[in-house]
Symmetry: C2
Subunit: 85 residues, 2 copies
Amino acid sequence: MEWYLIGIIAALLTTLGFVPQIIKMHRTKSAKDVSFTTLLQFSAGAILWTLYGIHLKDTIIIVANTITFVTMVCAIAMYYHFNRK
Amino acid sequence: MEWYLIGIIAALLTTLGFVPQIIKMHRTKSAKDVSFTTLLQFSAGAILWTLYGIHLKDTIIIVANTITFVTMVCAIAMYYHFNRK
């Protein structure tokens, strides 16, 4: 049970890892110091971790990385929005 | 074997996910748009994913997240260095 809890907390921390970055970009209306390559790498990584989680039949890995991918799409959209200006 | 390869590529992408951000901070000598909370969340997350990987006895998860933690320490050090100026 405690391992399940550690997995859940790990998943929450990294799944929502880019949420503070999204909030900061929104607040400062700036993204010039943010690395676009980092955003792309995490997006691709989240897709592959999801596949690997399906292979391991591990629900935590699957759900965590699917949500991460959604937050990365939001982060990339916001990066484009503020760097276009 | 292909699952092993997918795990390895996923691990490389997210393990080295903050390397482009570290390079960008170094190149621009600026980190003001980078979210410190995001850096902290990924550091804590990497520690817990490592523990969860030990529980699953999955070498890829353990090694990937240990290296991620090391890169996060580098990213946090660089963030402090450039935001102090």
